[in-house]
């Protein structure tokens, strides 16, 4: 069996394979590096950054759901300057593209972060306009096409030549409207889906399990929603897509590629199995070899019924 070429190009950045741990589930790459060589991955999205440090939400921040989970971490992070000072020197030396993920309360904050990150030389900037766990800014930008476009343009204008990928919220009526708006504003790629808003309640106390009452849902349970949205966005825009939401193994990664993704994100799956992402890289290689295909060829290859 010939070895399949797993490499893909996402917004001009070459990934040796399409598997990318997603923002907020992989820290700054250090923790899971204890279990496997992270250079085996296609790239990784670092924990969401804000201009200034944030302590995040009060606990509990995690609740289990049937085949999934809720989180309300609330963008806890050390701030973009601390990231560049403490984490970037280590990451810069890796044979692995690093995608910085940013959230802001104003377009000016997105602009300031883009300048700092592109100046330092990160491989790509993922503009999060869709975090459901912060009060101001974030979600509003992701749910209104004009605002999403404004933030995208601001990011592009200040990112130099660094590719800008916009992360879309599934908590909207029509995700293609937002995708078209950010395409029009110059985005180089889109990533989707961020988490779906959800809630769980403790029967004994009648309290929501999460201290913030609601949180963002992820994990295998959201896969069908993610596939549907990736497929819709693939049909609506020309931008490459980092598709994510509920992917756990090679088979679900192939589904995500077929729906229209160029690269495939994995997050919550790693909490269940730290080796899930590297197992998926290996499984994808086997699957492609067995079927005489490549990830590039699979992208958008679903054969919808007429």
């Amino acid at each position: 069996m010939a070895k399949a070429d797993l490499s893909v190009t996402l917004a001009g950045v070459r990934l040796k394979n399409p598997i990318v741990p997603v923002s907020g589930t992989f820290g700054f790459g250090e923790e899971y590096g204890q279990f496997f060589d992270i250079e085996r991955l296609g790239a990784f999205c670092a924990k969401g950054l804000t201009l200034r440090p944030r302590v995040g939400n009060p606990p509990p921040r995690i609740a289990e759901t049937p085949m999934g989970m809720l989180n309300s971490v609330g963008l806890q992070n050390p701030g973009v300057d601390a990231f560049l000072e403490r984490e970037w020197p280590r990451l810069q030396g890796l044979d692995l593209p690093v995608i910085a993920n940013i959230s802001g309360d104003t377009p000016a904050e997105y602009a300031a972060m883009c300048e700092k990150l592109s100046g330092a030389g990160v491989d790509m900037i993922e503009v999060n306009v869709s975090c459901p766990n912060v009060k101001a800014g974030g979600l509003a930008y992701g749910t209104k096409p004009e605002l999403a476009a404004e933030v995208t343009k601001e990011a592009k204008d200040h990112a130099g030549g660094t590719p800008v990928m916009v992360k879309l919220s599934p908590n909207v009526t029509d995700i293609t409207e937002i995708a078209k708006a950010v395409e029009g504003a110059g985005a180089d790629a889109v990533s989707l889906i961020n988490t779906l808003r959800g809630m769980r309640i403790d029967l004994n106390t009648r309290r929501p399990i999460l201290k913030r009452n609601t949180g963002g849902m992820s994990g295998p349970a959201v896969l069908p929603v993610a596939l549907r949205m990736v497929w819709e966005v693939h049909n609506a825009v020309k931008l490459p897509i980092l598709g994510m939401g509920g992917v756990t193994n090679a088979e679900t990664a192939v589904e995500m590629l077929l729906a229209g993704a160029t690269a495939v994100g994995m997050g919550s799956a790693l909490f269940a199995d730290p080796m899930a992402a590297v197992k998926t890289v290996d499984g994808l290689a086997d699957w492609c070899a067995a079927h005489g295909t490549t990830p590039k060829e699979l992208t958008g290859g679903v054969l919808p019924w007429a």
Binding site: G24, T25, F26, G27, E30, E31, Y32, Q34, F35, K47, V55, G56, P58, P59, P60, R61, I62, A63, E64, T65, P66, M67, G68, M69, N71, V73, Q76, I209, G219, P220, S268, L270, F271, A272, D273, P274, M275
Partner: protein, 258 residues
């Protein structure tokens, strides 16, 4: 560096109505990752999506396989699944995770445990080579676990029950204070149990000028510091993470109102 290992269950013994002792064969997990008593393991309970964190009660490096013993109480679906496993079955385990109790091997310790927080202190008693006094609290006599093991591993053991059905009638921190009134010759107080109990014990220890370490709980996803899910607030306004920075913290760091 934590290890993922398929561990074989070599012993499962009920310690009461809904509490179990389980011994696992863990490859070289203890040899590779043991730091101190009070670390935990993160156990997959399929089909439930998230792993369940359970403290190590005691462990030893051994050939051909290291041994890790846990004691758990059935609280919900995952621990019920765990209770239904049989000897010979395997568990997908991450371990040993976190930082345990910082102990001086020649120190003398006052151990304060409540309910299902009692088991990890057994490892502390062993580590202290018997130079430990244990105060173990339970709701009532029916819930008391591991009294003989502690009696064998400690200088002295005081059992407390909330309803007075056995031993001291009252809370663990009250008994701790009674002891410290007469004998302050301890390196530190080590505590594990419900948050209210930990807070009470921490206050008493501070009053008598003794260092106090507490083992905290929070809901977890990754268990290794990557998701920031298990944050607890610190007295200085920052967050720390139970899985990576803990589960054991210096009592003076913790924001007890958080």
């Amino acid at each position: 560096m934590p290890i993922q290992h398929l561990c074989t269950i070599v012993d499962k013994t009920p310690l009461g109505a809904d509490t179990y002792w389980m011994q696992l064969e863990c490859g070289d997990m203890v040899e590779q990752t043991f730091q101190a008593p009070g670390q935990f393991i993160h156990i997959a309970c399929p089909p439930h999506f998230l792993r369940r964190p359970i403290s190590v009660a005691t462990c030893q490096s051994d050939t051909p396989d290291d041994g890790v013993s846990i004691v758990f109480q059935v609280r919900g679906e995952g621990t019920r699944w765990l209770a239904e496993r049989s000897e010979g079955e395997t568990l997908d385990v991450l371990g040993l995770l976190g930082n345990g109790f910082a102990m001086d091997p020649v120190g003398r310790y006052l151990l304060a445990g409540g309910g299902i927080g009692v088991p990890p202190l057994y490892g502390c008693a062993q580590y202290a080579g018997g130079r430990a006094v244990a105060v173990l609290g339970f709701r009532s006599q029916a819930q008391v676990i591991m009294p003989q093991l502690f009696a064998d591993a400690c200088e002295n053991v005081f059992l407390c029950t909330d309803d007075g059905s056995l031993g001291f009638h009252g809370f663990v921190h009250q008994k701790v204070e009674e002891i410290l009134c007469k004998d302050r010759d301890f390196t530190a107080v080590l505590a594990c149990g419900p948050k209210l109990m930990l807070r009470g014990v921490a206050e008493v220890a501070a009053k008598y000028g003794l260092p106090c370490q507490v083992s905290m709980e929070e809901r977890m996803a990754c268990g290794v510091g990557a998701c920031l899910g298990c944050a607890i607030p610190m007295a200085d306004g920052t967050m720390k993470h139970v899985c990576k920075d803990g589960p054991v913290f210096d009592a003076s760091e913790v924001d007890w109102n958080g």
